[in-house]
């Protein structure tokens, strides 16, 4: 299967501190990769580099054949809106917009807002009845589902999750993970998800363990 992500000797340093030591990683199209590790192990740094939110200080990083290190600021912005959907632990929804408008905003930056499509995306994540609610009127699980709808609205080939269930209770976590699996099975996008939670990691196809900026262990959970 073709690789969606390929890194070679990928490093990221902040001054003297090396947050990510040379990393070779290959993620095939459609794979759900989970990244585990302690705080400061470099997993979020890796995720930011994969999402084009940060630039490497060494090595190469290719996502769908595009060398991210060679892109300009606006080129990285284009890459993010065309290829990537990102889900955060803290949800990061715009508080003065409704759930529907939050999803439509992602469409606005990508191309043209389409209310029907945004409504459908929210219905897919089970929030068809919460379209007009603002983030403050939604539970944590519901907010995270809005984030998922926002992340998938532009049909990205890569979904990045930075501890997306970190703030959710067990029931909501299960709901979000089931939803992600369902959407992944339907849309066949790849997922790279950072988590602390062993149970959450078990939803993926493969887990890599990081420590002190290095990939220390890898385990395949199920065949891709």
């Amino acid at each position: 299967m073709a690789a969606i992500i390929e890194t070679s000797g990928l490093t990221r340093s902040y001054g003297d501190i090396c947050a990510l030591k040379p990393l070779d990683l290959c993620v095939p199209e459609g794979e759900w990769l989970t990244v585990m590790g302690h705080s400061g192990s470099g997993k979020s740094t890796l995720l930011n580099l994969l999402g084009g939110l940060d630039r490497p200080t060494g090595g190469s990083i290719q996502v769908r054949g595009t060398d991210l290190a060679s892109l300009s600021e606006d080129g990285l912005a284009r890459f993010r809106r065309d290829c990537v959907g990102i889900i955060f632990q803290q949800h990061h929804l715009i508080p003065y917009l409704t759930a529907l408008e939050n999803v439509m905003m992602s469409q606005y930056f990508h191309s043209v807002p389409d209310e029907a499509e945004a409504r459908h995306a929210l219905e897919r994540v089970g929030l068809g009845h919460r379209l007009k609610n603002r983030p403050g009127e939604l539970s944590g699980g519901e907010q995270q589902r809005v984030c998922i709808a926002r992340a998938i609205i532009n049909s990205p080939r890569l979904l990045l999750g930075d501890e997306p269930t970190g703030n959710l209770d067990h029931k909501s976590t299960t709901m979000v993970m089931e939803l992600l699996r369902e959407l992944r099975d339907e849309d066949r996008f790849s997922i790279v998800m950072v988590t602390h939670n062993q149970e959450v990691a078990a939803w993926g196809d493969r887990t890599i363990h990081m420590d002190d900026g290095c990939l220390v262990r890898e385990e395949r959970i199920k065949a891709c």
């Binding site: 930011n48 912005a77 993010r80 809106r81 003065y96 408008e101 439509m104």
Partner: protein, 408 residues
């Protein structure tokens, strides 16, 4: 979607929006008020400056000695710039022998109008004469009211030991005329050596009926600029029309000259230049104050937006994460700025218009109507304030790094 974002942004964040709006309204209002009254202020100041004295002198053209005619005087109030003519005073000068109780002396007798009603068909009645053109004369006594009354210059009065109530006899060409002194004039100039009597009496005494030596004209003019200083004889037709239709002292003088046959009109440059320089400084001061008001408003807008931007940095970081490029982010924030500045400009114009009325009434005791061009100017000023004020916050917004802001 942009409209939805802007609408929601305004409705859900009323406090910072109101702060920015208030700054823009204030800047735009002060600019509107200052610019609104600057025209009125210049006009009032120009009127006040007319107390400097006449700024145009009419004399017989070369080769036409003593040829100015009294009959032409009313024509001065019919020229293109007739509304700018504040007043004029005709003079006929002659060397005569004066005799008083203190002795005899040869000096200048000036025939003039003191405050003569002038009626010109189709024009409002006016008073013309020395009272109008030389309001700065200090008069001990009163102005003459009958043909045998006169005003004497302070220096001549001292030499001839004359005071209000004294009589003086003027002799010329074998004719005598007795005048009663009703006022002693102190001017600080050559007028203090002269006797001023009614024009018709002096014309009769000097045997020069209907003749004038000089006419002093006091006119409202605009400050001279490079164009005004150009030689009219070298101007193109369009330039000449523009020059003729601008109230430069030279073009008003030209109009007066055309009205008085055989005359040559010259600006009295020490008066005209001083007035022009003062009016120019006044205009510059008003523009400077307007600029300062706008600058202060822009600073207030900038600091309000900076504070708002700090609060909104997660939002901006999120937009960047979703793939918004710099242009899209700038469009959102400049769109907000544009809407606020148009509203601010509108309210600023209305507030500034009222402020101009209050200032005009309080300071000049007159009413002022803001010209129509002030409306787009107010909107423009609001836009300038908003854009200048949002430059630094926008730069900061575009420099936000999502990784740092959304961490954790």
């Amino acid at each position: 979607m942009l409209i939805r974002i802007l609408k929601s942004s305004f409705l859900k964040r009323p406090k910072p929006v109101l702060l920015v709006l208030l700054s823009i309204v204030m800047g735009s209002a002060v600019a509107t008020a200052f610019l609104g009254i600057s025209g009125e202020l210049s006009h009032k100041m120009a009127l006040e400056l007319r107390s400097y004295g006449a700024n145009i002198v009419l004399e017989p053209a070369a080769g036409e000695a003593g040829a100015l005619k009294s009959d032409d005087l009313p024509k001065i109030k019919t020229i293109f710039w007739k509304h700018n003519i504040v007043g004029f005073a005709p003079y006929l000068f002659g060397q005569v022998d004066f005799a008083s109780a203190a002795g005899r002396q040869r000096a200048v007798l000036a025939g003039t109008w003191f405050g003569r009603p002038l009626q010109v068909p189709g024009e409002p009645d006016s008073i013309q004469g020395v009272k109008v053109t030389a309001p700065w004369w200090e008069l001990d006594g009163r102005w003459p009211e009958t043909p045998d009354e006169a005003v004497i210059g302070a220096a001549l009065a001292k030499r001839l030991k004359l005071a209000p109530g004294s009589d003086i006899v003027a002799t010329a060409a074998g004719k005598e005329r007795r005048f009663r002194i009703v006022g002693v004039a102190s001017t600080g100039g050559f007028e203090e050596e002269q006797l001023f009597a009614p024009l018709a009496e002096v014309q009769a005494l000097l045997n020069k009926p209907g003749q004038l030596s000089r006419v002093l004209v006091s006119a409202l003019t605009v400050p001279m600029d490079d164009f005004g200083r150009k030689d009219p004889s070298r101007m193109t037709r369009e330039e000449y029309e523009k020059w003729y239709c601008t109230a430069y002292v030279t073009s008003v003088a030209k109009g007066v000259e055309e009205a008085m046959s055989g005359s040559r009109a010259k600006p009295i440059w020490q008066i005209a230049s001083a007035e022009g320089a003062l009016l120019k400084k006044l205009e510059s001061l008003m523009l400077l104050l307007t600029g300062l008001a706008l600058f202060s408003a822009a600073c207030a807008v900038s600091s309000s937006l900076m504070a708002a931007m700090a609060k909104r940095s997660p939002e901006i970081a999120l937009m960047k994460t979703m793939g918004a490029d710099r242009l899209q982010i700038a469009a959102i924030f400049l769109g907000e700025t544009l809407v606020i500045s148009v509203i601010g400009g509108l309210f600023g114009y209305l507030a500034g218009d009222r402020l101009a009325v209050v200032i005009s009434r309080t300071v000049f005791n007159s009413t002022v109507t803001s010209p129509l061009w002030l409306f787009p100017t107010a909107i423009g000023a609001a836009l300038v304030v908003a854009l200048a004020g949002s430059a630094a916050p926008l730069k900061r917004a575009l420099a936000i790094e999502p990784v740092r802001v959304l961490k954790g």
